[in-house]
Symmetry: C2
DNA sequence: GAGTGGTCTAGACCACTAT
DNA sequence: TAGTGGTCTAGACCACTCC
């Protein structure tokens, strides 16, 4: 497939080149180095020539070489460290990522099909799952969990009758000190406020809900969008400014349809794949066609 | 919520500023203009001062002002047109996007809850759905549909016994001439090869399969990742180089478990939201806890 | 023709890394 | 101390848009 894609790419670079007559100097550098990385000529971790070296080799100014390197940074083909250099970082990871890297499925982090089938059954334990993978998970609370007045957005999503107090938690989740995601979550206060005084530690919240109140979390609705990180998120998640993040809004209902959580998760996109399975239910009109 | 987020942002800009002592000149411009846009002081479509103007106003060189504008471009807060200028383009769109913009759900494009519940039942008709929205959909075939030898990747995903011929379609899908997504899809040749000689036009493929062969598409598995666009994709989808795209790999099975499609969709992230609903199935051990 | 973004140049200083 | 990326400067030419 990567072979096929390369063919397509080349097919379409020709008209592109002829359309613009000539490529810019920076663009030529991007294509050359980019191709070397994609073809594996330069391997992951390998250090690239310095900006000044590249400028000399390609006969351009340092700013032009730098601009090419910035493009490769944006494409996440390389990474840079001030005072050290540029390093190949990516394509091998990304190729494998669709199946093999850390993945989220139904709110759980998984890393392969076997675990997937297990994890399908669980909900709400970033902590426990990372533990199982041998990683060291950690919650960093960016605000003290507290009862706060529901904003309009929260009122709507939790379907509250009026602006009530809700339990808000806002935290950064990490594993092995790598930031995975920001989570801002809201819960109806009457069910959850006691966890403010009696911490439940790392027991999954919905497990606690089941045990304490006999209420079962059941239906989940998730909406995902991908967008570039803003400066706050790039700072918190340790990614570059325009690196993609995935915003996941999740609404959780009980088996009786009562909404018990609304959360917005902002995840570092490169650490995540999201898997979903569902059945096609053809419309009656289509069956009859 | 946007109020809350702003508070967080400010809380975290202080340590950031003190940590680095002072911000760079470009960064100061980014923060100032970025804040103006986010707060709505400059409205969507509004034209920003030119690079030379900004440079003069902030007392910096044109390249510094330009670098700040590039950052804002990366954050998708502004757009630029050569020979015309920079224009505010974003936050209002993005705020509304989670619920209101064009969305994909189960392979269908939807735009609100009502249509969502309808579209849940259908599969495989970007064309028909766009029609229903009053948009003009179009398929641009980037390769002639053909029987091709299955690559290793395709062999694996279609679970073929050996490297056989498969039907490949590779196309760009647009609506109102706006590029939405690249689709590369593979099908077992024995079921689908006749569409090469007898085009089915815009009849949904799985509807045709049901009518022609009495075979019902049923189970779908989707894996989503978000990543920056490469140069080929940014060219085809009309987006900037590091703008996010969503890679969606989809496997479709019949009601008997036979795989009848494997596809990789590369979608312009800013045009899509993805919705999924599912039920939590607690593990036995957790129920017993 | 005046103004615009896109590209490029040949320098410069800084903070940081490695040795 | 030498080399690195990060930032910035003050110019320049080009293709394009708008009038």
């Amino acid at each position: 497939m990567s072979g096929d894609q390369l063919e397509n790419r080349e097919v379409n670079f020709d008209p592109f080149e002829s359309k613009d007559g000539e490529l810019g100097k920076a663009e030529r550098i991007v294509l050359e180095i980019g191709a070397d990385i994609k073809e594996g000529k330069i391997q992951e971790g390998y250090r690239l020539p310095s900006e000044r070296d590249l400028a000399a080799r390609f006969g351009v100014s340092r700013m032009t070489a730098r601009s090419a390197l910035q493009t490769l940074l944006n494409e996440e083909l390389i990474v840079s460290y001030a005072g050290r250099g540029y390093f190949v970082a990516g394509i091998p990871d990304r190729e494998a990522s669709t199946r093999d890297r850390i993945q989220e499925y139904h709110g759980e982090i998984i890393d392969d099909e076997t675990i997937l089938s297990d994890e399908l059954q669980v909900s709400g334990s970033f902590y426990e799952y990372m533990k199982r993978l041998g990683r060291e998970p950690r919650d960093e609370f960016l605000e003290q969990p507290a009862l706060v007045p529901a904003s309009e957005e929260v009122t709507e999503h939790l379907q509250l009758s009026s602006k009530e107090l809700v339990l808000k938690r806002y935290r950064l989740q990490l594993a092995d000190n790598i930031p995975y995601r920001l989570i801002e979550s809201y819960y109806p206060s009457e069910l959850f406020q006691e966890i403010l005084t009696k911490p439940i530690d790392h027991k999954p919240l919905f497990k606690w809900l089941q045990d304490r109140h006999g209420i079962t979390a059941k239906q989940v609705k998730e909406v995902l969008i991908a967008r570039p990180a803003n400066s706050y998120e790039s700072d918190r998640l340790g990614i570059s400014l325009c690196a993609p993040v995935v915003d996941l809004e999740r609404t959780v209902r009980t088996d009786t349809g009562r909404i018990i959580e609304w959360a917005r998760i902002t995840a570092s996109a490169k650490l995540y794949a999201f898997r979903y399975e569902y059945d096609i239910r053809l419309k009656q009109s289509m069956r009859e066609y």
